[in-house]
């Protein structure tokens, strides 16, 4: 680890003080405010704190918090890890994560998609994992093609940085394609509505099962080095590593394989890393199971159409489900995207709609031919279902509201 300048040391100390003060006064974990204080005193603090350490960046529309958590768990096999485990995924949060664990050589940072180019420059990563790109909060975020182009430009300027990228996502494939060192992962892509056309030339993409190819320019799915087969990860040399995950769904098996690939790049073999993934039971409330009045409630966070499709894949058969929708600023104000999701997978079970925008859900479910009830909130939903299991799928602020109801369960 390199020595910090006097100014950087002072900035780091102030960052930690500000974060602690914010935390003890009950205003969140203090990552953002701490990082802001540190970066104000020393604008290059992030680069300085990253220098001389092994940094992995994890980015994409969905799954980055979970994959970061998996990767940190895997790397802990090799010692302490610096990571932004509270989802503070912008430079303020990264700076705080690095400042708090000064002794950790390995660092895993979840990066908001829009900040990837900046982190690429400032955090000098040894590896970057690219998960997926799909429509998300369209009323304010950059659209998928724009974001992919931004990634491609940034990654092309650093062609020697090793990438671990999802071969099943055409936009990610294209964004990573200019790099000379890509390890491809069969990361899956249930949601295909954003990849009708070739990212490279705009012509129609042909799909045959998981394979995809552009007939005009030849851009096609690279052969993956890492894959998921049943409940196992398959390594580049063909070894099968059992995954015994507590987190549900195919998408989390893919996230786990990505984490193993990152760990492997940092010298932690998958045999040592995989058992540690089984220790991850929830991620900042996601997948947490809480109990109330004889109901066992499992919390699933999904912010956009691709995420809702993945969440449907995680539902226990016949178990009642609460769908919770808000449209506050961080959610995006436009709820139209719920029409991009086919809700028929929730058919045949009790469905309850809650959240600020439950009327939008009601109209959507009615059009989809799904029987549903509208209730006031999560407490009312729990009373409306029989004792036993209950699944909850919520978008961002709806999820936080529900988590608050359960004492901010982690």
């Amino acid at each position: 680890m390199t020595n910090l300048s006097a100014r950087a040391k002072f900035a780091t100390a102030m960052l930690r003080t500000a974060a602690t003060l914010s935390r003890v006064s009950g205003r969140g974990d203090g990552s953002v405010i701490g990082g802001r204080v540190g970066l104000t005193i020393e604008p290059r603090l992030l680069s300085m704190l990253a220098a001389g350490r092994q940094v992995a960046l994890i980015s994409g529309t969905n799954g980055k918090t979970t994959t970061t958590r998996f990767t940190a768990a895997a790397l802990e096999a090799a010692g302490p890890v610096a990571t932004n485990s509270f989802g503070a995924n912008m430079p303020t949060g990264h700076t705080t994560a690095l400042a708090k664990a000064r002794d950790a050589v390995n660092c895993v940072l979840e990066v908001d998609e829009h900040y990837l180019p900046r982190l690429l420059n400032e955090a000098t990563p040894q590896v970057i994992a690219l998960l997926n790109l799909s429509r998300d909060q369209l009323d304010r975020a950059m659209e998928v093609s724009g974001l992919a182009a931004k990634w491609r430009t940034a990654l092309s300027a650093a062609p020697d940085v090793p990438l671990i990228a999802n071969a099943d996502d055409p936009w990610v494939t294209w964004a990573a394609g200019a790099s000379s060192r890509v390890t491809w992962v069969a990361g899956g892509q249930r949601w295909q509505e954003d990849s009708w056309v070739c990212p490279q030339c705009g012509k129609h993409l042909d799909r045959y099962g998981e394979f995809w190819r552009c007939t005009a320019c030849g851009l096609s799915r690279p052969s993956p080095h890492w894959a998921v087969e049943g409940d196992s990860a398959v390594t580049p040399d063909g070894r099968r590593i059992p995954l015994d995950l507590r987190l549900p769904g195919q998408v989390n098996r893919a996230n786990a394989v990505t984490a193993l690939a990152v760990a492997s790049a940092f010298g932690v073999p998958p045999e040592a890393a995989a058992p540690r993934l089984s220790e991850v039971k929830s991620v900042a409330g996601r997948y947490a199971v809480v109990r109330r009045d004889g109901r066992r409630v499992r919390l699933l966070l999904s912010k956009n159409p691709a995420g809702w499709l993945e969440a449907f894949d995680m539902l226990e058969p016949r178990c009642p489900v609460v769908l919770a929708l808000n449209a506050r600023e961080v959610d995006g104000f436009d709820t139209s995207w719920i029409y991009d999701v086919d809700f028929s997978p929730v058919q045949g079970r009790q469905v309850l709609a809650i959240g600020d925008r439950r009327m939008d859900l009601a109209v959507r479910l009615e059009v989809n031919g799904v029987r549903f009830e509208v209730v006031e909130d999560i407490a009312a939903a729990i009373q409306a279902v029989p004792p036993g299991d209950l699944e909850v799928i919520a978008n961002y602020t709806a999820f936080q509201d529900i988590r608050a109801e359960f004492d901010r369960v982690n």
């Binding site: 429509r135 369209l138 009323d139 304010r140 659209e143 093609s145 724009g146 509505e193 009708w196 056309v197 705009g202 012509k203 129609h204 104000f333 436009d334 709820t335 139209s336 995207w337 719920i338 029409y339 991009d340 009327m359 939008d360 009601a362 109209v363 959507r364 009615e366 059009v367 989809n368 031919g369 509208v374």
Partner: protein, 237 residues
């Protein structure tokens, strides 16, 4: 109605399918089927020919690149213009709405539209993003228009085309009007989707397509849609 089956065409989902506009197709189909009118929904990609005999053509929103490509393909294909001339129903949203005019700007370039509506679109001083509401043109006999707009363009209507609504909240075409129609060709900037928020507009399109007056369509239980409308409109004050 051209056949016993109402044929709905979703134009170029590969190019124009952002913002949940597919919902308009789902709502038309649902509201028709709920009244015993069978529907067939056809998705036609931009490398395929559009059918000439469909009853309702739906065009959605999209980004600049796909928008200009879609316009070129629609002009070359000719089916939508021909269908509109034959009195078929066309309903377009956002980028698709701009394509119905004579010209629009995409990627800083002026592009030719289908010219089905006497209007042209250019760039506005800022992006219009947020809830929109306003009274619908009295000629259509519809309740308040409500929806969510998200566009950088501004649209200027010529004398041959009427505004769909006046704007009491939001920007729409130019801050004073929103959307446009001529005959059975209707366009709007609104998402939400537009027909989820405005079921009476959906019924007007259906009535046109089946050659009946809207009041002749059997009423549906619109409890949820009405509550959604009231909630969205009340949220503006």
């Amino acid at each position: 109605m051209s056949t016993s089956m109402l044929r709905l065409v979703w134009v170029y989902p590969d190019l124009l399918s952002t913002y949940g506009d597919r919902g308009n197709l789902l709502i038309l189909s649902h509201r028709a089927e709920s009244r015993g009118i069978l529907t067939e929904s056809v998705m036609v990609r931009s490398d395929q020919a559009l059918p000439r005999q469909a009853d309702i053509y739906l065009i959605g929103g999209g980004e600049d690149g796909p928008q200009s490509l879609a316009a070129e393909k629609l002009i070359a294909d000719g089916a939508v213009a021909e269908a509109a001339d034959a009195g078929r129903v066309v309903f377009a949203v956002c980028a698709g709405y701009q394509i119905l005019g004579t010209s629009f700007i995409a990627s800083d370039r002026e592009c030719a539209g289908l010219g089905l509506l006497d209007m042209r679109s250019d760039r506005g001083p800022s992006r219009a993003v947020g809830e929109l509401a306003g009274p619908v043109n009295p000629a259509l006999g519809l309740p308040t228009l409500t929806g969510f707009e998200n566009h950088g363009g501004r649209t200027h209507l010529g004398p041959e085309t009427a505004a769909l609504a006046n704007v009491s909240h939001g920007i729409g075409n130019d801050g004073s009007t929103e959307g446009a129609f001529r005959g059975k060709v209707v366009g709007t900037y609104l998402h939400g989707p537009a027909l989820a928020r405005n079921p009476a507009l959906a019924d007007l399109l259906l009535a046109w397509a089946v050659g009946r007056a809207p009041e002749e369509l059997p009423p549906l239980d619109d409890r949820w849609a009405q509550q959604l409308r009231q909630e969205r409109i009340a949220a503006l004050v």
